[in-house]
C-alpha cells in the first residue's frame, strides 16, 4: 500500500473520530467510499475533503449548541453579559497598554539620564563645545537591555555617515543641544513624541470603553429590574 493510501486511511479514521453524533453516518459513508476511489493521490484528496467536511460539521454542531443556549438567555441578561465582556476586555487592554507605556517610559528615562551624565562628562573633559550632541539608543526587547552610542557632531552629514555604520534595526534617537556648560536642551525623536503622545489617547479610549461597558451593564440591569 502506498504512503498516500496509508495517509488517506489515517485521515479517514481521524474524521470518524471527529464526527459529531449527528454526522457519524456521513463520516462512515465518506470513509467507505475511499476504497472505491481510483488513484492514490485521488484517495488522499478524497480523505482530505472528507476531513474538512467533518471538521466543519463538528464546528457547526458546536456553534448551533451555543446558539441554542443563547436564545434561552433574556435580553437584559444578554446585554449585561456583553457589557461585562466589554468591561473585561477594556480592563485587559488598558492594563496591557499602561504596562507597555510604563516600561517604555522607565527605560527611556534611565537611558536619558545616562546620556546626560556621560555626555556632559565627555564634553567637559575634552573641553569641546560641539553645537550638536547626539546619542543613539538600541533597545533589545527580549533582554530589556539598552545599548548606547554617543556622537559629538560638528555637522549633520558626518553624523549620518557614522549612524549608517552602526545603527540598524530598532533604534531611537536622543538629540540635545548644548548651548552652555550647564544647560542641556532636549529634543526627543518624533517617534518618541508619538510614543508619549499615545499614552493619554490610549487612556482616554480605554476609559471611554470602560464607561461604555459599565453603561451597558447598568442598562441591562435596569431593564431587567
Amino acid at each position: 500500500m502506498s504512503w498516500q493510501r496509508r495517509a488517506a486511511e489515517r485521515l479517514a479514521q481521524l474524521s470518524l473520530r471527529l464526527a459529531p453524533e449527528s454526522r457519524r453516518e456521513w463520516a462512515q459513508a465518506m470513509v467507505a467510499e475511499l476504497d472505491a476511489v481510483k488513484g492514490d493521490w485521488a484517495a488522499l484528496a478524497w480523505a482530505c475533503g472528507g476531513l474538512r467536511v467533518i471538521f466543519m460539521e463538528s464546528l457547526r454542531a458546536q456553534l448551533s449548541a451555543t446558539g441554542k443556549a443563547g436564545i434561552t438567555m433574556s435580553r437584559p441578561r444578554l446585554l449585561s453579559s456583553i457589557g461585562a465582556g466589554v468591561l473585561i476586555l477594556a480592563l485587559l487592554w488598558l492594563a496591557a497598554n499602561s504596562f507597555g507605556a510604563w516600561r517604555r517610559h522607565s527605560w527611556y528615562g534611565d537611558a536619558q539620564a545616562t546620556v546626560v551624565s556621560t555626555q556632559t562628562r565627555q564634553v567637559n573633559s575634552a573641553g569641546r563645545q560641539p553645537y550638536l550632541c547626539e546619542a543613539v539608543l538600541k533597545y533589545d526587547a527580549e533582554s530589556s537591555r539598552v545599548t548606547m552610542r554617543r556622537y559629538l557632531a560638528e555637522d549633520a552629514s558626518s553624523r549620518d555617515r557614522w549612524l549608517n555604520k552602526w545603527a540598524s534595526g530598532t533604534h531611537h534617537w536622543l538629540h540635545y543641544w548644548r548651548s552652555a556648560p550647564d544647560e542641556v536642551v532636549w529634543q526627543d525623536d518624533p517617534a518618541w513624541a508619538g510614543y508619549f503622545g499615545r499614552i493619554p489617547s490610549d487612556l482616554h479610549m480605554g476609559l471611554g470603553v470602560l464607561v461604555l461597558g459599565a453603561g451597558m451593564m447598568l442598562l441591562g440591569k435596569k431593564v431587567h429590574a
Binding site: 456521513w26 459513508a29 465518506m30 467510499e33 476504497d35 475533503g49 472528507g50 467536511v53
Partner: protein, 105 residues
C-alpha cells in the same frame, strides 16, 4: 424538515446527476465523478439534501468480504420534483434567448 436548501450551481449539478438516473441508487464516488465535485464539496450538498428530505439514503453491504458497506443515495419524490424544477429553471433563459432570436429573424 422540508425547507428548501440553497440551490447553488454545484447543488444543481448534483440534482442533474441524480435526475439522469432517477430510479437508480447511486454511490457518492459515482456522483463525484459525474459532477467533477470533490468530496469536500459533494458531501455537504448530499447532507443538506438528505436533511431536507430530498434524498433517500441506505447502506449496501459489499459483496467482497472485508470491504465496508457503502452508502447509497436516491432522490425522493419531492427531490425529483425539485430536480425537475431546477432543470426547468435552467432552461428558461435558453428559451428566452431562442424567442428573442426568433423575433429578430
Amino acid at each position: 424538515m422540508s425547507a428548501s436548501p440553497r440551490i447553488s450551481a454545484q447543488t444543481r449539478a448534483v440534482l442533474q446527476a441524480f435526475l439522469s438516473e432517477a430510479a437508480e441508487w447511486c454511490y457518492g464516488y459515482q456522483i463525484s465523478r459525474q459532477t467533477n465535485l470533490k468530496s469536500g464539496t459533494l458531501y455537504p450538498i448530499l447532507m443538506r439534501l438528505a436533511d431536507a428530505r430530498f434524498l433517500q439514503t441506505r447502506w449496501e453491504e459489499s459483496p467482497e468480504v472485508g470491504r465496508p458497506a457503502r452508502h447509497m443515495y436516491r432522490l425522493t419524490a419531492s427531490g425529483l420534483a425539485l430536480a425537475r424544477q431546477e432543470a426547468g429553471s435552467m432552461q428558461k433563459p435558453v428559451t428566452l434567448r431562442a424567442s428573442v432570436g426568433e423575433a429578430g429573424s
